[in-house]
Amino acid sequence: MDEMTGENININEQLKEASTNALRCMQCGVCSSSCPSGRHTSLNIRKLVKIAGRSSDILKSDELWMCTTCYNCQERCPRGIDIVDTILKIRSISAYHNIILPEHRAVCQMLLKYGHAVPINDDYKIKRTEMGLEELPETVHKYTDSLNEVKELLTSCGFERFTEDNTDENKTMENTA
C-alpha cells in the first residue's frame, strides 16, 4: 500500500502534465454540443475538460471511456485545446496505473487467450464449416506455435496485469457501478 501512496502522487502529477492545455478552457460548450457520443451517453466532454488535471477523480469516471475520439470537439474548440489528445493521454495514465473498466479486462483476457481482442465465436465457426471452409481462419488463433509466441510477447511486456483487478480504485468503481 505504501507503493500505492507514492503512485497516487505520481498520478496527480502525470494528470496535471497531460492536461495543461485544458487550463485555457473558457467553458463555452462548443465541445459538448458537437459531441456525437454525448447525445447517447452520459458523457459531457466539457465537464471532463473542466476536471482534467484537477484530481485523480477523473480516472474513476466511466465517462473517460465514452469518447469515440471523433475529434469534432478538438476541431471546433475556439481555444485550440487538444481535447481528444488529452483524453487519450489520461486514458494511457489510467491504463498505466491499471485503472480500466471490466470490459477492457475481458478484452485483454481474450487477447491473451486467443491472440484476438474479438475472437471468432461459435456461430461463425458453424457458418464457416457449412460453407466448406475450415473452422478457423488463417490467423494466429489457428496455429498454436504462433499463438504461443504472441502470448510470450504479451507476457514479457507485463500485459497480464491488465487481466487482474487489484486496485482500490477499480473496486470502488465496481461497487458504485
Partner: protein
C-alpha cells in the same frame, strides 16, 4: 530647415566627469538589488566623480539632487540606473538640460526590467549584474557627445483619412481650432459604418438621426475640404511637411450641378445587388445615390455595370451626367495626418460558420441592421431571406469570428451590445417573437451598458450560456441549433426561424493600404499599432501621424468619437506651435569614406536616404535614428550618432572584467 542649437556648452566635451544615480524604485529594484553596494561599486569606476542612491530618482527630490550634483561637482555626464528609457529617458534628459548639460550627455541603464524583475529569486546575482550593467553604462557615458535636435517648420493643414464617425469628429475638432482640414473618404458619401446602423446602444436612438446632422456640419464647415470618392495614393515627407497625392475617382456626374434628385436612378435599367450599403440585400441601379441622407447627396455611376444606354443623361434636368469624366489628382501640402480608415465586418462566408452561406436564414448582425432599418431594403420589416416572412423565433450566436484561435483571438467588444440592442428591437417590433442569445460571456462595461443588459432580460429575451456546436436546416428552411446550456448541463436542440451571427470586426483592406503608404506599424491582430498601449493610445511611432477609431482596434461609437477628438488634440499641438522638434539621434555620413554604393538607401524604412549627384543625401528630419542603414554600410561611412561604434564598443569591452 532651421536649426536651433539647444545647447552648446564646450565644458561638455572636457574630460568626462560622471555622476551616477541608482534608483531603488521603492521595492521594485531596492527589494532585490543591494543598491548601496551598486553605488559604492560605481564610485570606484574611472571618471565617476560621485554616486548615490535615491528612493525614486524620477521624483522631484531625485531630480533636484541630480541638478544640484551637476552644479556642485561640475559634472558633464549623468548616468541613472533605474527603469526603462521608453517612459523615463525624456524626463531625465530634460532634467540635465535644465542644469545646463546637453540632454544627449545623459546615459540610462535599466536595472529594473533588465535585472531586478527578471532575477527576483537571485538577489546576490542580481546585484552583481546591476554592477556590471552600470560599469558598461559608465564606459559608454564617457564617450557620449552633445547632439542637437532639429526644428522644422510645420504646414498648418491636416489630412484626415476616412470619414466615418471617428474621422468626422477629428476633422470637425481640428477645423474648429482654426486649421484647414482635408477629409478624404473613399466612398461616395461620408458616414462610415455608423450610417448603416439602425439604432445605437445604450439609448436606442436612431443612428442616422444623430449622425446626419454631424455629416451636414462636416460639409458646411468652412475649414474642411471634403474629398469623397477619393483615395490617398502617395505620401512623402515628414512631420509638418508631408506631400500627399490624392486620387479623385470619376463619378461620371458633375458634383457641382447634380442635385441628388434621383430622376436618373429611376430611369436606369441596370439593377445589381446593393453590396455597398445594404450588405447585398436588395438592389441598386448602375447610377445611384448611396443613401437618402448621403453627404454629398450626389449620384455616382458604377462604370463596371453601366451599359452606356444614356437613359440617365436624358433624364437629368441639370445636364450633370459626364460619361467621359476621368480620375483627377490633387497634390496637398500637409502638416499632420490622422488615420481613421475603419474596419471590415468579419465575413463568415468562406468557412461557412454556423451554416452561413449554406442556409438562407443564417444572416450576420450587419445584415440584420439593414433589415431592421426603416430606410433599409425592407423598410424596417425583419423577414427571413428564404420566404420573406417575419420570423417567430430568432437566435443570436455571439463571438462569431472573435475569441477564437482559429479566426481572431481578440474580443470585438461591441457585439454583445449590438446583439442586446437588436434583440430588444425585435421584441419591440414583434412582441410575439421569441428571442434567444447564445453567449459565452456577456461583456457590458461602461456607462448604462449593464442597465441595457438588464432591460433585455426584463423584456423576456432568453439567454443560453453556450456556444452552439451544430446548425442544420429543417425542411421549412428553419434552423436547428444544438447548444449546451452550460449552466444546467442540458444539451438543447433549438428550433429557430432566423439565426443571426454576431460577427465582429477585422482590420479593413483600406486600412492596410493606407498603412503601407504611411509605413505605420501593425499589431499581430492586423489593426494599426499605437505608440504606447496606455500613454500614447492614438500616437504612432511616426511623428505627426495619428490613428483613431476601429482602424486601431475594435471599439464602439462613443470610444471611436473620443479617439477622433484625441487625434485632433494630439495633432493640433504641432499646428499650434508651427514647428516640430525632430530626433537629435540621427545618422551621419563621412563623405571621405562613402562610395555612394546606395546599399543603405532601400534599407531605410523612412525614406530618409537618397543618392544625388553621386553623393549620399540624408534628410535629417526623416531619420528616426533606427540604425538600419549604419549596419548595412559596407565601408563604415555611416555612423549613427549616440550609438557610434566607439561608444558601443566601449560598452561591450566592459562586459567582462578580468582580475589580474
Amino acid at each position: 530647415m532651421a536649426q536651433s542649437e539647444i545647447n552648446d556648452d564646450t565644458k561638455n566635451t572636457d574630460e568626462p566627469r560622471i555622476g551616477v544615480f541608482i534608483c531603488e524604485c521603492g521595492v521594485n529594484i531596492g527589494g532585490v538589488i543591494d543598491c548601496h553596494a551598486v553605488a559604492d561599486y560605481a564610485g570606484t569606476l574611472p571618471d565617476v566623480i560621485r554616486s548615490s542612491v535615491n528612493k525614486y530618482t524620477c521624483s522631484d527630490s531625485g531630480q533636484s539632487e541630480i541638478k544640484q550634483a551637476i552644479k556642485d561637482n561640475n559634472l558633464n555626464r549623468v548616468l541613472v540606473a533605474a527603469c526603462t528609457p521608453k517612459t523615463h529617458e525624456p524626463i531625465f534628459r530634460a532634467c540635465v538640460e535644465e542644469a545646463g548639460l546637453n540632454p544627449y550627455l545623459f546615459e540610462f541603464v535599466n536595472i529594473r526590467e533588465h535585472c531586478s524583475w527578471i532575477h527576483m529569486q537571485e538577489k546576490e546575482a542580481a546585484t552583481e549584474k546591476a554592477c556590471e550593467l552600470v560599469r558598461m553604462g559608465v564606459s559608454r557615458a564617457s564617450k557620449l557627445e552633445p547632439l542637437q535636435s532639429n526644428e522644422v517648420p510645420v504646414t498648418n493643414t491636416a489630412l484626415v483619412i476616412g470619414a466615418g464617425v471617428a474621422g468626422m469628429q477629428s476633422a470637425l475638432d481640428i477645423a474648429d481650432m482654426g486649421y484647414k482640414v482635408y477629409l478624404v473618404e473613399k466612398n461616395p458619401s461620408i458616414g462610415g459604418k455608423m450610417a448603416q446602423l439602425d439604432k445605437t446602444f445604450p439609448t436606442n436612438d436612431c443612428s442616422i438621426c444623430i449622425l446626419g446632422p454631424k455629416m451636414v456640419e462636416v460639409a458646411r464647415n468652412k475649414n474642411i475640404e471634403l474629398m469623397t470618392y477619393s483615395e490617398v495614393e502617395e505620401v512623402d515627407g515628414y512631420v509638418g511637411n508631408f506631400k500627399v497625392k490624392v486620387r479623385h475617382k470619376a463619378r461620371y456626374v458633375d458634383v457641382n450641378t447634380c442635385t441628388g434628385c434621383g430622376l436618373c436612378v429611376e430611369k436606369c435599367p441596370v439593377e445589381v445587388p446593393n453590396t455597398e450599403f445594404n450588405e447585398g440585400i436588395g438592389t441598386r441601379k448602375a447610377i445611384y445615390v448611396p443613401f437618402p441622407q448621403a453627404v454629398p447627396l450626389r449620384a455616382v455611376i458604377d462604370k463596371s455595370v453601366c451599359i452606356d444606354c444614356g437613359a440617365c443623361s436624358r433624364a437629368c434636368s441639370s445636364n450633370s451626367i459626364i460619361m467621359e469624366q476621368e480620375d483627377t489628382f490633387s497634390e496637398l501640402d500637409i502638416g499632420v495626418i490622422v488615420v481613421t480608415a475603419g474596419f471590415d465586418v468579419y465575413d463568415p462566408e468562406p468557412t461557412h460558420d454556423f451554416g452561413y452561406g449554406l442556409y438562407d436564414n443564417v444572416i450576420t448582425g450587419m445584415e440584420l441592421e439593414r433589415l431592421i432599418n426603416a430606410s433599409g431594403p425592407t423598410m424596417g420589416k425583419v423577414v427571413r431571406p428564404s420566404d420573406v416572412k417575419p420570423p417567430k423565433k430568432v437566435g443570436f450566436i455571439q463571438c462569431v469570428g472573435s475569441r477564437d484561435k482559429k479566426r481572431n483571438r481578440y474580443c470585438s467588444s461591441f457585439c454583445c451590445m449590438y446583439a442586446l440592442k437588436d434583440a430588444q428591437l425585435i421584441r419591440e417590433k414583434y412582441p410575439d417573437s421569441e428571442v434567444y442569445i447564445m453567449y459565452m460571456d456577456m461583456r457590458t462595461p461602461f456607462r448604462n451598458y449593464e442597465e441595457f443588459y438588464d432591460r433585455a432580460r426584463d423584456m423576456g429575451i432568453r439567454f443560453i450560456r453556450g456556444k452552439p456546436g451544430k446548425v442544420t436546416e429543417n425542411e421549412d428552411n428553419g434552423l436547428k441549433v444544438r447548444v449546451e446550456d452550460t449552466l444546467t448541463n442540458d444539451i438543447i436542440d433549438l428550433d429557430l426561424d432566423l439565426l443571426v451571427l454576431s460577427v465582429g470586426a477585422v482590420s479593413s483592406e483600406s486600412t492596410e493600404r493606407i498603412r503601407q503608404i504611411l509605413k505605420v506599424s501593425r499589431a499581430a491582430d492586423g489593426f494599426l499599432m499605437e505608440a504606447h498601449p496606455k500613454l500614447k493610445p492614438v500616437d504612432t511611432t511616426l511623428d505627426g501621424i495619428f490613428i483613431g477609431g476601429v482602424s486601431q482596434g475594435p471599439k464602439d461609437i462613443p470610444y471611436s468619437v473620443s479617439q477622433g477628438s484625441a487625434c485632433a488634440a494630439r495633432a493640433t499641438r504641432y499646428l499650434a506651435q508651427g514647428k516640430a522638434i525632430t530626433e537629435g539621434i540621427t545618422v551621419e555620413v563621412n563623405p571621405d569614406i562613402c562610395v555612394a554604393c546606395g546599399i543603405c538607401v532601400p534599407m531605410c524604412p523612412f525614406q530618409a536616404l537618397s543618392i544625388e549627384d553621386g553623393k549620399l543625401n540624408i534628410i535629417k528630419a526623416l531619420c528616426k535614428g533606427c540604425g538600419t542603414c549604419a549596419v548595412a554600410c559596407p565601408t563604415g561611412a555611416l555612423q549613427q550618432n549616440h550609438f557610434r561604434n566607439d561608444q558601443l564598443l566601449a560598452q561591450v569591452k566592459n562586459v567582462f572584467t578580468f582580475e589580474e
